[in-house]
Symmetry: C2
Subunit: 149 residues, 2 copies
């Protein structure tokens, strides 16, 4: 007997299969991305911080946390470690002494200038199994799953 005693419909099975495949694929791709970044001594979250700062430098930790969709508490440690490595720095703001603005350093920029194109290339390689139309299709299907209503 099924261990939950619940009769699984066809639709339910399809949904579950799809979700399980999504987990597998996501983990698989995420692992690849991580191992590439590791050669620069970077983690995925650290890379994301640097990438965000490249677009929006000198943002407050609060803003940065919102952009990255992580808690501000999490960001503290992230910025700490990036600071230790000399890739970003905290800057005090005169007008509001509670605020820190985070700035990417020259070293951080150099690192990102190497790592970013590599990442883009890696993603392209990862996705190379799909044709252009399939990429559009996949993106569309994924987007449909995020309900904004």
């Amino acid at each position: 007997m099924d261990h939950n005693g619940c009769p699984e419909g066809e639709k339910s099975k399809k949904s579950l299969d799809c979700w399980l495949q999504m987990i597998r694929t996501y983990d698989y791709l995420q692992t690849q991305v991580a191992s590439l970044l590791q050669r620069h001594n970077l983690t995925v979250p650290q890379f994301e911080v640097l990438s965000t700062l490249a677009i929006a430098d000198c943002t407050t930790q609060q803003e940065l946390a919102q952009r990255l969709q992580v808690t501000k508490g999490n960001l503290v440690g992230l910025i700490d470690r990036l600071t230790e490595r000399g890739w970003v720095e905290r800057m005090q703001v005169q007008s509001d002494r509670r605020v820190n603005r985070v700035r990417i350093t020259e070293g951080g920029k150099e690192l990102l200038d190497k790592a970013f194109p590599e990442q883009v290339g890696a993603v392209e390689t990862m996705m190379s199994g799909l044709a252009d139309t399939e990429l559009d299709s996949l993106r569309g299907l994924l987007q449909k799953l995020v309900k904004t209503d």
Copy 2:
């Protein structure tokens, strides 16, 4: 100028967009799954351990780690916490004193019998925005990205 100085092709952009959408969708769905389980005081990894034990009870920690695709070191803490809560127990094996077999308790079974159907239902709801053919299509596209060669 583009901050990496690399001319991005059309294909590259499509790949990147697709990957970013995948991250967004995955995080979104994972958050939903997590918040549902939280009502049973369960985390996603803990639920996965219990679910696996429901199929393959009394497996060694080694086997369990392989099935869940996590390191054995990670599993130690996971089993510790599940044991504290009384949902699983470690059993020593006579023939090989290095080995622990992990068994789901009655309490663990009861919990899973409540939580598992809920999870299946939640996944179905999460996926309800897609038609049957779309689910097949999405699963197929995702599978294509996992290269086994």
